[in-house]
């Protein structure tokens, strides 16, 4: 039991340190690699919470998709060995101040709030909750009251629109068209 607590704090420290390095690193490629580690740490946190499906989706979509896309665009647009210009000192100072104040305020609110214990639904027998992929899939495509088939279809249209939009935006116009 105590091992899981230790694992949580190690994961939390890993996520926060790599996240901080990702936003402060001077070289953009290193920044992308720190982001990769941070997203992997978040996937580990989902594993720790017992949500294997979300962890797998996190690894496939973020680590395998978005970070690779970001690294491709870095190679297309930057000289990777070059240092990024350092931000203006006053801007760094004031944004750090604002972020620290916001974080302290959020923490105070969180520590004051008391979360209730899990509220049992009617007809719930306190067994191990069903988090299997088949349960997720059945509810995701169900048309009943708690089904998510309409958002599922809407988001597939959104993905199609995003794909077409990417092609239209990034397409190279020929010089004679101008």
């Amino acid at each position: 039991m105590i091992a899981s607590v230790v694992v949580f704090y190690i994961l939390a420290a890993f996520i926060l340190v790599t996240g901080l390095l990702a936003v402060t690193s001077g070289k953009i490629f290193r920044s992308a690699i720190w982001l990769l580690f941070c997203l992997t740490g978040v996937a580990g946190l989902y594993f720790w919470l017992g949500m294997e499906f979300i962890a797998a989706v996190q690894v496939v979509v973020y680590v395998g998709g978005i970070v690779v896309l970001i690294i491709f665009s870095i190679f297309l647009t930057q000289q990777t060995g070059k240092e990024l210009p350092a931000p203006v000192r006053s801007r760094t100072l004031f944004s750090a101040l604002a972020v620290c104040l916001g974080f302290v305020l959020t923490c105070l609110l969180l520590l004051q709030h008391h979360f209730p214990p899990p509220s049992p639904w009617p007809n719930y027998d306190f067994g191990e909750p069903d988090m299997s992929v088949s349960a997720i899939g059945a509810q995701l495509l169900s048309t009943s009251e708690h089904g998510y088939v309409l958002p599922f279809e809407v988001i597939s249209i959104l993905l199609l629109a995003a794909m077409i939009g990417c092609i239209v935006i990034a397409i190279k116009t020929k010089p004679e068209d101008k």
Binding site: A12, I54, P87, A162, A170
Partner: protein, 104 residues
């Protein structure tokens, strides 16, 4: 898992959110700003999953919200990178300070 209070997970996700906000404030390169946005979206996902697991362990709503947020984040990253590449073609730089014309 229940040895760790829910508040600690929420503090971790709040810290990740404010790290992302700090990056969004200080960076002026569009790709690094996009990375900060990804950090912010991840902190929101941690919140949804933790609330689902701790407060309503018999429901799956947090899983679905996280899945939809991940899908929208993927679409957003793809469109943002297409815009960044188009901007690089026109300005030869992806610094937001250099992109100061609405129409070229």
């Amino acid at each position: 898992m229940n040895q760790v209070p829910l508040t600690h997970i929420l503090i971790v996700s709040a810290a990740l959110f404010f790290i992302g906000t700090y990056g969004l404030f200080t960076r002026r390169n569009m790709i690094t700003m996009l990375m900060s946005v990804e950090l912010i979206l991840n902190s929101v996902n941690i919140n949804f999953v933790a609330f689902n697991r701790y407060l309503y362990p018999e429901a799956l709503e947090g899983v679905f919200f996280s899945l939809f947020i991940i899908a929208i984040a993927a679409a957003e990253a793809a469109v943002a990178i297409a815009i960044i590449i188009n901007l690089y073609r026109n300005f030869h730089s992806i610094d937001v300070e250099d992109a100061d014309e609405l129409k070229f």
